[in-house]
């Protein structure tokens, strides 16, 4: 899986692509931690339109990243999950913890 980032006025957007499972989770968590520490954003957005698969390992990554942003007095949100990713987010009840929005293609288009 791949991660790329863009930063603009306090908002760090992380574009995840590929498949996010247990095999990829630990490395991804490290990359997200490093990027948050580098930019110290007020808001961190996980842009998931390029993510073709995610299982509960992705839930752990989201929960840990949300905790990290809370410690920095910032917030985490999720944008544009695919249908498969959305079903996993819903089954885990992640929307109680992290706002999820769809249809905003941001800087992608």
């Amino acid at each position: 899986m791949n991660i790329s980032s863009s930063y603009f006025s306090g908002r760090l957007t992380l574009f995840l692509s590929g498949e996010l499972d247990h095999h990829e989770a630990r490395g991804l968590l490290g990359s997200i931690d490093d990027l948050i520490e580098e930019f110290m954003p007020r808001e961190c957005v996980l842009e998931l339109s390029g993510l073709s698969f995610m299982d509960s390992s992705g839930i752990a990554v989201i929960v840990r990243s949300a905790e990290k942003m809370r410690l920095l007095r910032g917030r985490l949100s999720i944008e544009n999950p695919s249908a498969q990713v959305m079903r996993v987010l819903e089954a885990a009840g992640i929307e109680r913890l992290v706002p999820v929005t769809s249809g905003n293609m941001g800087g992608l288009l």
Partner: protein, 146 residues
């Protein structure tokens, strides 16, 4: 129930095999002509069960995992994931949402996702002997298909 087709695969408990297992399961299931949501649910449930075996059955070693998929009468897909690892002392507790003995990268949602994405989920385990997870999902016949 009558078995119409099956495959059986065996692989090592290396995390690189998680992607292989769910891709193989999806490829076998595709003969039932599932829709995108059904296929996604199958891939996700297989990924969860295989990851559990890798993380929990063999925490400090590499062992065998076997995956059997069967097509039963009535467009029913049955997935069995078996390991010969540590086993689960208390299956009921292990299946509770958010319960995990895994590390930072585990969420404790694996069984919750398996049970909500599959029609049936059965877990058999004995400490020191291993664990078998059996899941079933009926695939809806599509209008106008074969």
């Amino acid at each position: 129930m009558k078995e119409q087709n099956y495959i059986k695969l065996e692989f090592l408990s290396r995390s690189a095999n998680e992607a292989f297992a769910r891709a193989a399961a999806a490829a076998f299931a595709s003969q039932l002509d599932p829709n995108m949501e059904e296929l996604g649910d199958i891939r996700t449930a297989v990924s969860e069960a295989v990851t559990n075996a890798i993380v929990h059955a063999y925490p400090d070693s590499i062992g065998r995992i076997s995956m059997r998929l069967r097509i039963l009468e009535g467009q029913l897909l049955e997935i069995s994931i078996r390991d010969w690892g540590r086993g689960i002392e208390n299956v009921e507790q292990a299946m509770k949402p958010l319960y995990t003995t895994g590390g930072q990268e585990r969420s404790g949602m694996g069984f919750t996702i398996m049970s909500s994405f599959m029609d049936k989920l059965r877990v058999r385990s004995a400490p020191g002997k291993g664990t078998t997870v059996v899941m079933q999902r009926a695939i809806c016949p599509r209008v106008g298909s074969r």
